[in-house]
Subunit: 333 residues, 2 copies
DNA sequence: ATGAAAGCGCTAACAC
DNA sequence: GTGTTAGCGCTTTCAT
């Protein structure tokens, strides 16, 4: 494996000049720079990253710790982060915390050890590891959920409002007993979606409060939906707090022979390519995932450049996409 | 940020002893080891990764370069890789090449620069960058697609056979004009799926060969399906080569008012949670993605340990899951 | 069993 | 504009 000295020898210059030339410093003679470039190419020289990072005390890498790689919402965020980071020469490493605080902490430790320039994370719970980042002055930005105990840059969706609007939509469609299936208590987005749901029912003077909380997974939502729908007075519509849960709910409906829209109105968070393919197509609350990623990356870069700037909270809006699964009247014959 | 010297000073020992103690070498006095541990904890010491990697000439990291983070097939592979790698103390960094040879090469360069222990990749095309890995003796394993010009460990699915079985299933259901929508020419999995399709039609003495090739994306498949279905003699069944394409095809069917199963039989590669929710549910060829990941990781670890072992080709089977989208007779009334 | 010291490859003062 | 050189923090001989 050739080193910078090999390149220097070959080009007949010092290692310092090689370093300067390869890093595009303006202070080097164009002729020499060209000779260096050529020598490097001929040798197939690849700079030694660890050596460079050791010397610079920082790697041009940002870590992105998300709670579920298999959730399209988070992968869309990842693409947004990548696109912005790559533009300015940073690499992105994706880490999957799997909604486990332990894995999350482990990845934070690794990020610190590798001296990454910054961390973007969707915190699963208290995120104790963040204290270490703060203590070391490593830049970090939270996405999707705020960090309970730390003032930090954070990019959120106004999910309470979005939930309220979705619920109001169900009310407007004439559904009478609207239920809500949301994620774990304590997870901010899950709590907010329930709060928005209640806001809308209160405003509409509806009495029923049919809430079930489970993991943000299909399996839990499936059971909870079966439970809710087999009550003496079952809901005639459901607000479902994420995409994975929607799968579980729709399965339950299928098993019970209830048709979305006509029998039970359904609105779910997060749009997906398959939502339109269902019969009837699924009404969703589309979150601007890609934009969350780009915005988070921009905030992170700003904080890497200047860690003294005051923390910012960016709140993006969501968009209700009405499809037939929540169109009670139309689908009634 | 405390260094190993700070820990050494605090524990009253040399840096060598700290290093040995923290790396669990047997040759240190238990009492000293405990003192070192405590000093490290008190200081919140985190080893400097770049320094360690520089010294060791290798990082305990494997890079996983996949062609589409948003494709559930690849994220399932990622989970498999992670689970095996973490067991033995390796970290996994996920890189998204986006089916672009250029990004793939860029990530390979980064992997080399960072001196990762090994690389797992799903090659997009010729994968010129792999030559550099080979030249440097960095371990690598291909998944899903073989590397055309390099003998290497590779984990594949017998996708030609799977395509043939899926096509034979459509034949058995009584479909007469079976079409095929596959990925780009030159991408091995896409070619194999077409080959398997032809195998089955030949065996069944069918004459029609209705093949369209597009990107492995919904948009391309959508157009191709519209084209195919508006031919004078349109197909009465379709074999679709991946999940994303299936979305495009089903959209096209919807727009044309053709119902899967009854009007046009459909089988698609890759199972997805939503496949059962469609009406009718989608028949799929389920690939063992998670197992591809675990197997690839195991092969990579073996090769990191011993780069002289002969290259292995591991071929896993796929499983046809019959649902109503390919049940012509049953769905006919 | 422990310590002293060399050196991994690079960058950035500093000197010229 | 270019070269010399120190040193980033760690692991690992080599002594003892």
């Amino acid at each position: 494996m050739p080193t910078i000295s090999d390149v220097a020898a070959r080009a007949g210059v010092s290692t310092a000049t090689v370093s300067r030339a390869l890093n595009g410093k303006a202070t080097v003679d164009p002729a020499l720079a060209a000779r260096v470039q050529q020598a490097a190419t001929e040798l197939g020289y690849q700079p030694n990253g660890p050596a460079r990072n050791l010397r610079r005390q920082e790697a041009a890498v940002v870590a992105l710790i998300i709670s579920d790689v298999e959730n399209p919402f988070f992968t869309a965020i990842a693409r947004g982060v990548e696109d912005v980071a790559h533009e300015v020469g940073y690499s992105v490493v994706l880490c999957n915390s799997d909604e486990s605080a332990e894995k999350e902490n482990r990845y934070i430790d690794i990020a610190i050890q590798e001296r990454v320039a910054g961390v973007i994370l969707s915190p699963s719970g208290p995120a104790a590891g963040v204290a270490k980042l703060a203590a070391r002055g490593t830049a970090y930005v939270a996405v999707d959920r705020p960090l309970p105990d730390y003032a930090s840059d954070v990019v959120l969706v106004d999910t309470r409002l979005a939930a309220a609007q979705a619920t109001a939509h169900l009310v407007a469609q004439g559904y009478q007993r609207i239920g809500c299936l949301s994620g774990p208590t304590g997870v901010r987005t899950a709590d907010d979606r329930v709060a928005g749901y209640r806001d809308a029912l209160r405003a509409a003077k509806h009495r029923a409060r049919l809430v079930r909380r489970t993991e943000y997974k299909a399996a839990g939502a499936h059971l909870a939906a079966l439970d809710l729908l087999s009550q003496p007075q079952p809901p005639d519509a459901l607000l479902v707090a994420n995409n994975a849960m929607a799968v579980g709910v729709l399965q339950a409906l299928q098993e019970l022979g209830r048709r979305p829209g006509r029998d039970v109105g359904v609105v779910a968070f997060d749009d997906a390519p398959w939502a339109e393919l269902l019969d009837p197509p699924l009404t969703v609350v589309a979150q601007p995932a890609y934009e969350i990623g780009t915005e988070a990356a921009r905030l992170l870069l700003a904080r890497i450049a200047d860690n003294t700037r005051p923390p910012t909270v960016t709140t993006l809006g969501a968009r209700l996409i009405e499809r037939a699964s929540s169109h009670r009247s139309k689908d009634r014959t």
